[in-house]
């Protein structure tokens, strides 16, 4: 199984890279764009910092996906949860502007974790009492929350500057500094590999982690073993939501310093891709996030510099997710044959 996961990740990333290079060469009829795609981001401090910063956000959100994937469930509502986490961070920081910065940040972090966790608990309740599919309900809850937050940002919480659809900028004292200027890499981003390591330790080195893994393999066996399935369901859902909330918190306090409308776009799917490529292993999330962040940042750079008329990032993501899906289905079939 581990071999399958490693192969899935490698094949997906390679397919994404190959596709991009071929596309760039075919569209520009030169190798310049492809060369810039592969190496250009490392020649610029801005883009290098952007890779690390985006990777850190993928790590936090990917960890949220990985925790739930370990138990055999999918959280497709990542984007709404990240958005909710970011929005509530901006609102709480604004509301506690008279508080000491540390208190203000702690309140914002707690709120940013609690609100998305509550969103996922709705899915938990629907699963427990109506046997609803978590994949579907997390997506639907998220889909309902996003326009609601959009309306709040456009309405009562809109900041008073220009045409930007965003909340007020947070005060200087609660901003995590950018440590690789002029890039958006924030100091908070450095903590996220540690969070992934802690996640790895929890899943692979604790009794509770073992229970999550076994639940992911067989729900019926987990119930038979007497595992606290309700606690596992709500615990992993809440953790998943909270980790997405942390992503929103770091995006607002470390990258954007405001919650602007739609800042989450693509982040949930990208993080889910990272988690799938990492085979839901939190330690493997670190390299998978870095690689995907490099690919997406480079794709955006090339799109800007070479004036591409298409959304390369989305195409790459589509290719990689297709590879994962095909190999996942193949792996399932293989497992069935060998059982």
């Amino acid at each position: 199984m581990k071999h399958t996961i490693r192969a899935t990740g490698a094949v997906s990333v390679t397919a994404g890279l190959l596709f991009t290079v071929i596309l760039l060469v075919a569209s520009s009829r030169t190798f310049a764009a492809a060369g810039d795609f592969l190496a250009g981001s490392f020649t610029s401090l801005y883009y290098f910092g952007a890779i690390l910063n985006t990777a850190s956000l993928f790590m936090a959100a990917g960890l949220g996906d990985a925790v739930l994937l370990t138990t055999g469930e999918f959280n497709l509502g990542g984007e709404g949860q990240i958005y909710a986490g970011g929005f509530i961070t901006a609102v709480v920081l604004s509301a506690t502007s008279t508080f000491p910065p540390v208190v203000s940040l702690i309140c914002a972090l707690a709120a940013a974790m609690a609100v998305p966790a509550c969103m996922t608990l709705v899915s938990g309740l629907l699963r427990q009492f109506k046997n609803a599919n978590i994949l579907l309900t997390t997506f639907l809850v998220s889909a309902a929350v996003i326009p609601f937050i959009d309306s709040l940002i456009a309405g009562p919480f809109r900041g008073s500057y220009g045409n930007l659809l965003a909340t007020s900028f947070i005060r200087e004292a609660v901003r995590f500094p950018h440590i690789l200027a002029p890039s958006p890499l924030s100091a908070a981003a450095c903590t996220l590999p540690l969070l992934c390591t802690a996640g790895w330790y929890f899943i692979y080195r604790t009794k509770q982690g073992k229970q999550l893994q076994i639940t992911g393999i067989s729900n019926e066996f987990a119930e038979y073993c007497g595992y606290p399935r309700t606690k596992i369901l709500y615990g992993t859902l809440a953790a998943s939501g909270a980790l997405h909330g942390i992503t929103g918190f770091i995006a607002v306090t470390g990258t954007y310093y405001t919650c602007h409308s739609g800042f989450y776009t693509g982040m949930g799917w990208d993080a889910l891709s990272c988690a799938l490529i990492a085979g839901s292993n939190p330690a493997a999330l670190i390299p998978s996030s870095l690689i995907l962040s490099w690919i997406f940042t480079s794709a955006d750079r090339v799109a800007l510099n070479y004036n591409s008329g298409f959304d390369i990032s989305s195409l790459i993501q589509g290719i990689m997710l297709s590879c994962i899906a095909i190999q996942y289905a193949g792996g399932e079939k293989h497992d069935r044959h060998h059982s």
């Binding site: 009794k207 893994q213 066996f221 044959h337």
Partner: protein, 494 residues
């Protein structure tokens, strides 16, 4: 269609399963393939049906060597196997599962949906009239899973039909009907190979008997009448280096205060009163009451269609349907009573909350007590404190006397090996209360005898042992014997 294996060997990383095996099966007959657990019967079936590649040797059909890359090749050559643990997709209906497995017939032609539906209905009426094609597989029992796989196999029109432990999940009545139908197929020219542990079955219903021992054909009887249960028992006993242990002390490692020392153990009695449950599409129970006393083995015998499966779900805390009734657990220091309607009687409660370290051995070894995708380490350490522990895993493997490693998959185990490991895992917790459902299912004669004695040994050490069985569990070992019939229970005395 005649089929033979010539000098076939199959080795895994840590063990040799088949060692230069040569055996032949003539068409138009029913052949029994017997052997102790781990003798290589299921591996032989898997190789014949293209599900497993062998390392050396060859498969001969009508004297010509053939090679199967996969099961489809075998089906096209006319060989179909109904596995001991049929893997069906739970979330779709029986008919959809049948359609999935019957794209090609043995003649290699693609079967149309219409053909499959027509054939399936024909076989259902003859083999399993009670089988509901529209039912989702998650809601059907083990016997119905078997019939669904069997019907899918028959639709392919095989020349060789391999049945791996066909009667493991069937009661006596179903077995009789099954063998009567199989006989008709054999008379029509089909070559039928039946893998079984039940010697009486081999003697009564088959034409030839082949006994496997450690991957080799130990004895071959051209006429089943020449084969007697005593002869096979003798053959098995002489070959068996390590069968299931029969003493509770051997399982408990002599830890005082646990199984080994009766004087300092808690005593427990479990009483169920007026269990009534009417699950959808499964047999109901009506006012079932019984008591499992400490120091005695309590047997409830019955058929699955009499509600034995439903009762198993209730007593193990796995019943999802609304259940009326009362469960009372008394120990020397406390008494706990709960209504079944409250759904508080769960495996979690039985294992961790009552202080009884309850051992639960369900009848579904494959998907409830285990899962094919689990590693052996995960399977054995699932209820052990902490992470998957190599020392603990190895200790249980040694105790169960199974040739396997902790990093291998549960799918690599034969039915009997899996049962031994489950017994070792469950009984290692020094339980005060043991629920054993179909404990002899899938075990060879000697292992079955040893397992029955082992359960009796735990009872004699002060455990309350509840056995639910649809096969012949030795009643002389039991303190109380109940009979479940039509959802109602009678009896209570040995």
């Amino acid at each position: 269609m005649d089929i033979a294996l010539a000098h076939v060997s199959k080795r895994y990383l840590h063990k040799t399963v088949l060692d230069d095996l040569s055996v032949s099966f003539r068409g138009g007959m029913i052949h029994a393939l017997l052997g102790e657990n781990g003798a290589g019967k299921s591996t032989t079936a898997a190789i014949l049906s293209g599900a497993l590649q062998y390392d050396s040797g060859e498969i001969l059909i009508g004297g010509n060597a053939v090679h199967f890359e996969n099961q489809r090749d075998a089906v096209k050559a006319g060989i179909v196997c109904v596995r001991q643990r049929p893997l069906l997709a739970d979330s779709i209906s029986v008919m959809e599962n049948i359609l999935l497995g019957t794209e090609y017939s043995s003649a290699g032609r693609k079967l149309t949906r219409r053909n499959v539906l027509h054939e399936a209905e024909k076989y259902r009426q003859k083999w399993a009239p009670q089988l509901d094609f529209r039912a989702r597989v998650v809601h059907i029992g083990g016997d119905e899973r078997f019939y669904a796989s069997l019907i899918a196999a028959l639709i392919c029109g095989p020349g060789v039909l391999i049945l791996d432990e066909p009667s493991a999940l069937l009661d006596w009545e179903q077995r009789r009907a099954l063998y009567a139908n199989i006989r008709e197929l054999a008379e029509g020219g089909m070559n039928i190979i039946v893998i079984t542990h039940i010697m009486q079955e081999a003697e009564l219903y088959t034409d030839t008997v082949t006994v496997l021992r450690k991957g080799k054909a130990a004895e071959q009887y051209e006429h089943s009448r020449a084969f007697t249960a005593e002869m096979c028992a003798e053959a098995c006993i002489s070959s068996s280096a390590g069968a299931v242990r029969t003493s509770a002390g051997e399982y408990a490692d002599g830890e005082c205060g646990k199984t080994g020392c009766a004087s300092c153990r808690e005593k427990c009695t479990v009483t169920f009163t007026d269990i009534t449950v009417r699950p959808k599409k499964r047999p109901a129970l009506f006012g079932v009451s019984f008591r499992a006393e400490c120091g005695a083995l309590t047997l409830i015998k019955g058929l699955r269609e009499s509600g034995l499966g439903t009762l198993e779900n209730v007593v193990t805390g796995m019943e999802s349907a609304r259940t009326e009734g009362l469960a009372a657990i008394e120990t020397s220091s406390s008494r706990c009573e709960l209504t079944l309607k409250s759904k508080k009687l769960t495996p979690h409660f039985l294992r961790y909350k009552t202080g009884l370290h309850t051992a639960i051995i369900p009848s579904d070894r494959t998907f409830r007590a285990s899962h094919p995708n689990l590693s052996i380490g995960q399977l054995l350490c699932a209820m052990h404190d902490g992470m998957v522990n190599r020392d603990y895993t190895d200790r249980l493997i040694r105790k169960a006397d199974v040739a396997i490693q902790g990093d291998e998959k549960a799918s690599d185990l034969s039915g009997g090996m899996l049962q031994r490991l489950i017994l070792a895992r469950e009984l290692d917790t020094a339980p005060l209360y043991i629920i054993a459902c179909e404990p002899l299912q899938g075990l060879d004669a000697q292992s079955a005898c040893s397992t029955a004695k082992l359960l009796a040994s735990f009872a004699s050490k002060g455990c309350a042992v509840l056995v639910l069985s649809s096969s012949d569990f030795p009643e002389e070992l039991c303190g109380s014997v109940y009979t479940l019939e039509g959802g109602k229970i009678t009896g209570g005395n040995a």
